[in-house]
């Protein structure tokens, strides 16, 4: 018996174009619609907005559309802490919709808890920064609460997503400021009463999870697998009797989540997609990634691609066998976790799948020119790729993973404009070419320390013809040391004959406040 609420009604609403057409949904004016796609703090709207509904057919419409009309949508990104830098000029993402929206679960999907070195996650990060950050959207959809998510961020080298869907689709929060989506909250309040759910759960003597996992729109317990069917049956009957409309999800072989009926990772995603579509910037493609029961709904959202990563839970594999096997938009990966996500990008032809790490041959040379593969206009996203490739190469040099010879090292020195300078985060300013050259003898210095770097929130902006600025957050970690982060800004100028068509002019780094 299916314990999962079908998405049918919601999907029907989403698909019925006459319905949508009957809603006069004014197009929202975005402050900088083109300039905000890849940034963690998205300014979706420049001000308050309310959707007005047409009079006809309110009944088969998704209820949250109605609640949008009642509520006021206000997403004002604040520019405190961790804001990505914007100088308001033409951004690389000069198109209205993200090429790809990647919605991923965290535990055992994006994050592999069996690998302390987080190798496949770093590989994903590397690929994302170089090839996707400028025109695609990263979304995390996790069962974790905000609190537990923050904990996870301290443990694993996660990128900063554009938005997060927390607590099994019961909370949608934007950017780094984690501004919650009010309309989503209002919608979830219908047919829900947290106190009542807690009472019934108590009546059945079910063991509640940690306090942080009990949220306004989510009550979570831990039960024995063998009792699952019976408990779910009883609980859902009782809550129905008490006038609530809930959804119950069993996952990971022990977690039981009780949510408002309209909640769930899938519903939240559908809501998001609808909102983006309404505003004219729906993603061209969506890839959802999961490993367990509470991800099933993600796969059921209409029109998405999906990957079940290697090492997925039985309940998801079972679902795939029953429902997903013949859907050519779904892929069951062999590789674990983030490696499986990269595998899916390749298998489902959703975009570049070779990160600079992968493309760097044993002699340190890039193996393929993905700029022309992607059909991108020259200079677009290339300075950004240069940053990622340069840093990847530097890391490999310091780790001794590329040959120690001058020709190989040239990859670094040949892209630096003479006279260019860098301000280092420890407070000195040097001639960039000189200081890069000083690094040459440091080949293999960190060989045994598992020195790793990754780049987050990378963004390229064109300042003038042939001149670009890239800003990013640089992170470093090595065995036995605290991770360190820097805010970086760099200026580039077009230059023929360089790997990415640009040379470095100036770099400036400041240590992040920890």
């Amino acid at each position: 018996m299916s314990v999962f609420v079908s998405m049918a009604s919601l999907q029907a609403c989403l698909m019925s174009t006459p319905l949508c057409a009957s809603l006069s949904l004014p197009r929202l004016s975005l402050a900088h619609p083109v300039a905000h796609l890849s940034r963690p703090t998205l300014r979706f709207f420049s001000g308050d907005h309310s959707i007005t509904m047409a009079q006809s057919s309110p009944m088969s419409m998704p209820a949250w559309v109605a609640s949008c009309a009642r509520g006021r949508m206000r997403f004002r990104a604040s520019l405190k802490e961790d804001t990505a830098i914007d100088v308001g000029s033409e951004s690389v993402a000069a198109r209205a919709s993200p090429r790809l929206m990647l919605v991923s679960d965290l535990d055992s999907t994006m994050v592999d808890h069996t690998d302390k070195a987080h190798a496949s996650l770093l590989r994903f990060n590397n690929l994302w920064a170089a090839e996707y950050a400028h025109n695609s959207l990263l979304v995390f959809s996790t069962g974790r609460s905000l609190e537990k998510y923050t904990e996870l961020r301290r443990q694993a080298p996660l990128l900063t997503p554009a938005l997060c869907i927390f607590s099994v689709g019961t909370e949608i929060r934007y950017g780094v400021t984690m501004e919650p989506d009010q309309d989503w909250e209002n919608y979830l309040n219908q047919g829900w009463d947290q106190a009542v759910v807690l009472e019934e759960v108590k009546r059945l003597n079910l063991r509640l999870q940690d306090e942080s996992e009990i949220r306004p729109h989510k009550v979570s317990c831990q039960i024995d697998k063998k009792d699952a069917t019976e408990i779910i049956d009883t609980l859902s009957r009782r809550l129905k009797d008490r006038g609530l409309d809930v959804k119950i999800i069993f996952s990971h072989g022990l977690d039981l989540d009780v949510l408002p009926k309209g909640a769930g990772k899938g519903e939240a995603l559908a809501f998001l997609l609808h909102k983006m579509k309404t505003e004219g910037w729906a993603p061209q493609e969506t890839l959802v990634c999961g490993d367990s029961g509470n991800d099933i709904e993600l796969f059921e959202v209409d029109g998405v691609h999906g990957v079940i990563v290697g090492g997925a839970m039985e309940e998801l594999k079972h679902w795939y066998e029953e429902n997903g096997k013949h859907n050519n938009r779904l892929h069951q990966a062999k590789e674990r976790c983030a490696g499986g996500i990269v595998e899916a990008l390749e298998e489902l032809s959703l975009g570049p799948y070779l990160s600079p790490r992968d493309r760097m041959g044993p002699n340190g040379i890039q193996l393929s020119d993905t700029a022309s593969e992607n059909g991108q206009p020259k200079g677009s996203g290339l300075a950004q790729r240069e940053v990622v490739e340069f840093n990847t190469f530097f890391e490999k040099w310091i780790n001794g993973e590329v040959p120690n010879d001058p020709e190989t090292f040239q990859r670094l020195t040949s892209v630096i404009a003479p006279g260019s300078t860098m301000v280092y985060p420890w407070g000195v300013e040097k001639n960039l070419l000189e200081s890069v050259t000083d690094a040459q003898p440091k080949h293999g210095l960190t060989k045994d320390k598992k020195f790793r770097t990754w780049i987050d929130c990378i963004q390229e902006q064109k300042l003038a013809e042939g001149v670009f600025m890239v800003t990013w957050h640089a992170w470093q970690m090595s065995e036995g040391a605290e991770r360190t982060g820097y805010f970086a800004t760099a200026i580039f100028r077009e230059k023929e004959g360089t790997p990415n068509g640009v040379e470095w002019l100036r770099v400036h780094e400041t240590p992040r406040k920890s």
Binding site: L79, K80, E81, D82, T83, A84, I85, D86, V87, G88, G419, T421, V423, Y424, P425, W426, G427, V428, E429, L463, A464, E465, V467, M469, F487, T489, I491, L505, R506, H508, E509, T510, P511, R512, K513, S514
Partner: protein
């Protein structure tokens, strides 16, 4: 980004009591503002001082002294170039001819001369204290003994106390000649040169061909006397009526070396009124940096009124969408954050508080955008801090210099860290 062309103006100045007035910082700040806003991009500032490298660094921590293009230290026996203070070993080679430090030390031992402190002793400079009343008989004896040793030496006695023994090829004048010869050979001969001094060991500077000279008002008798004794046309030397760096500015005005009015001596322009500013050039960028920092200082010191116009200049001079990476490690929107500055008007009144820019250098990225780097120094009761700054300025005809700020990225200069400031 360091200027490496032929300087429009070369200034060669002594430090103590010439560029630096130990009693008052203001004239040095006035000179600094003028230099950074109008000359740093195409002119060369050279210090010529008796101080050794260590003492030179010390001085830079005590007073708001700009970074020079070239430093001639230890009484013209050491020459250092640029930000990295690279030493000129070609000059050392010349000094080594006919020089033997050990021989000097032997003579000193024989005569029981009193050494100055260790930091004053350099490879090509041996320094003693000789009291005025003893100098009359010590000097001739010293000369005799050093000559007997076969040394090619020079003695400089100044301030009525300091005696330096140097190779003959050393000395402020020699070092300057060497430098000018080198600049000429590199195609960098300056269009104009101004030398500045206050005491005996500066005399040589004034003897160099084709230079203007200024003797500051507080100069030592020995220099004033020397000047009085000069016969013939000495119109190329100006005796200032103002002390130290103020006297240098006076000389620039006297010799019509322009521009010669410091931004600190006029009101910072707050608006363009009816006409729009022209397209900016490198000069506009430097001026904007110096003026913006100056205006901030004036606001905090209450040296200007808390006018709406002044505050708008500060706030809207930062683009609405601008960003700032603060040296304490967070990113903010400075256009919004500056509102806290409003309430801080006059908060530094009567206190020790100065902000100044050093090493202002810009690169044109396009007709409309400029990258500028500078060191932003701040001296207050809390101490001395410095921030290495990169900034992106874009053309905006609504502002006096035709520019406004889009991006500021700051990192504490090592050794001069501050804490998260309340002010902008």
């Amino acid at each position: 980004m360091e200027f490496m062309g032929a300087p429009r103006l070369l200034i060669v100045s002594d430090l103590d009591h010439t560029m630096v007035d130990h009693k008052d910082q203001l004239s040095l700040l006035r000179f600094g503002a003028l230099w950074e806003s109008e000359f740093n991009h195409d002119s060369l500032l050279v210090y010529s001082t008796g101080r050794s490298p260590t003492m030179f660094s010390d001085l830079r921590r005590e007073v708001p002294l700009l970074t020079p293009g070239i430093a001639i230290l230890a009484c013209g026996s050491e020459i250092f170039y640029g930000d990295t203070m690279t030493q000129d070993f070609g000059f050392i080679d010349e000094l080594n001819k006919g020089w033997n430090r050990a021989a000097v030390e032997e003579v000193a031992a024989e005569m029981n001369l009193k050494y100055q402190c260790d930091s004053e002793q350099r490879p090509h400079k041996v320094s003693f204290h000789v009291r005025k009343e003893e100098s009359a008989h010590i000097m001739p004896m010293l000369r005799e003994k050093l000559t007997a040793k076969g040394l090619d030496y020079k003695l400089i006695y100044s301030g009525g106390l300091d005696l330096d023994v140097l190779p003959r090829a050393a000395g402020k004048g020699q070092a300057l000649s060497y430098l000018l010869k080198k600049l000429k050979a590199e195609g960098r001969a300056p269009q104009q040169t101004l030398v500045c001094g206050d005491s005996g060991n500066d005399i040589e500077l004034f003897g160099v061909d084709n230079v203007y000279g200024v003797i500051v008002a507080n100069a030592q008798d020995e220099l004033l006397q020397w000047h009085a004794d000069q016969l013939g046309d000495k119109s190329h030397i100006f005796v200032a009526t103002e002390r130290c760096a103020a006297g240098i500015i006076q000389a620039m005005q006297h010799f019509n070396l322009r521009p010669n009015v410091s931004p600190r001596d006029i009101s910072v322009p707050l608006s363009v009124h009816d006409k729009l500013a022209p397209k900016p050039d490198g000069g506009a960028v430097s001026r904007e940096v110096v003026e913006y920092l100056l205006l901030t200082e004036q606001w905090l010191r209450g040296d200007i009124d808390a006018s709406e116009e002044a505050f708008r200049r500060l706030k809207f001079g930062l683009a609405k969408e601008s960003n700032r990476v603060c040296p304490w490690g967070v990113i903010e929107n400075p256009h919004e954050e500056i509102d806290t500055l409003r309430a801080q008007h006059g908060s530094q009144k009567g206190k020790l508080f100065y902000i100044w820019a050093d090493r202002v250098r810009s690169i044109k990225l396009s007709d409309d955008s400029w990258l500028v780097r500078f060191d932003k120094w701040e001296r207050s009761d809390a101490g001395l801090t410095c921030v290495l700054t990169s900034a992106l300025l874009q053309a905006n005809a609504e502002f006096p210099n035709g520019l406004y700020w889009r991006l500021i990225h700051e990192t504490w200069l090592k050794g001069y860290e501050g804490s998260a400031a309340l002010k902008g």
